[in-house]
Amino acid sequence: MSRRRQLAALVRKDLRLELRTRETIVAMVLFAIVMMAILQFGFGTRDDDLTRFVGGLMWVTLAFTAVLGVGRSYVAEREQRVLDGLLVSPVPRVVMLGAKAIAIFLYMTAVEVIVIPLVGVFFVQGPYWDAIGWIAIAALLANACIALSGTLFSGLALFTRARDLILPVLFLPALVPVVIAAAGATHAVAGGPHDMSEWRGYCLFLLAYAILFSLVSVATYDAVFDD
């Protein structure tokens, strides 16, 4: 049994479901935009210049958006009660983990393709696309972090009571380092002259986070579904 074939089938399944129902990504994008707007209203009157904060606010927003998306990640399996079908098939649990992580990664990337250039207008100083490019690299690394830890925590929350509440409680504290680093990397390149050594430091940190959480996930994911 080829693991690659299994992985591709599971990812294709998630994308097909998303394309047909369009439930998750559209809601994530709308949520991100609404929340950015609310944060702007909450923080300032018309006179204040929020430019310095907006990069950070964007990552706070994306973190909450991630919680929303990750919370939807097993919703078809749970509501349509399909999970047993996957679990009795000879799929290694780590392949299930990888497929879910890839789906979350793609959802987050899809949201950011819209949100980052849009919000970037409000805080990027200096050459616009240059800064957006560097931010995009940090964002992809942050997405890997979000996807890996999110898959693990959504698996843990799946069969708990009040799972919609449990997931943010588990997931957000673990996301704090990601938000700090992604916002730091954004800040380093958004203010005109780039501070590339700072940007590199934050990106390396994100990479380390992704590696560490992939190790933890691979080591523990068998146990998540091992009733």
Binding site: R161, V169, L170, P173, V176, P177, G184, V224
Partner: protein, 227 residues
Amino acid sequence: MPGERAALIWGVVATILVVVSTIGVFLVAPEDADQGVIQRIFYFHVAIAIASLVAFAVACVAGILYLRTRDARWDDVGEASIRIGLLFSVLVVITGSIWAKASWGTWWVWTDPRLVTYLIVVLIYAAYFVLRSSAEDDRRMRYSAIYAIAGFASVPLSFYSVRVAESFVHPVVFTSSGANMPGSMLIWFVVSQAAMIALFIALLEVDLVGRRSERALRRLALRLENA
């Protein structure tokens, strides 16, 4: 019972060490030239912080062992360790806050990496108990074990994420080249550290003795019910 004897011995050891270190720290150790008497809180602040990390490490190892053996006793060790570790972390935040008030005149400094990190650590491990209370039996133990492992991976990440953008306003007592303090201070630091770790072990043993008898009682009740 060996468990009770261990609890008693560690209780005595911890009591002696705590008394000795308190006397040493307040009466014997030399006064810090710059900071005066408030610097003495450092002995407890740092010792408790390290002891709490030891507790979380023990919980992580107990989690790994639980997943290997599925023996409920490892779940007991894990939960008791995190309970004590969380208590210690709260003390770290409180003592750190007192120190901040004395040094800088304010209870909370968001730019101080140590305070902020420990706040994240408190949040991570508080979530452990939320997770525990929303699942039952084997699932509770399994999820707790996985979370104890993932949580311990989050701790160093929180440390580094806060320090990537380090602002060194906090008095640095340790540097990477070793302890930056006179030998007489170091001795009392080592004694307080030993006291806090002994305190952790004693609390853990007492907790485990309680759980063991509770479990035996429950088994007995079940047997009576079935008879």
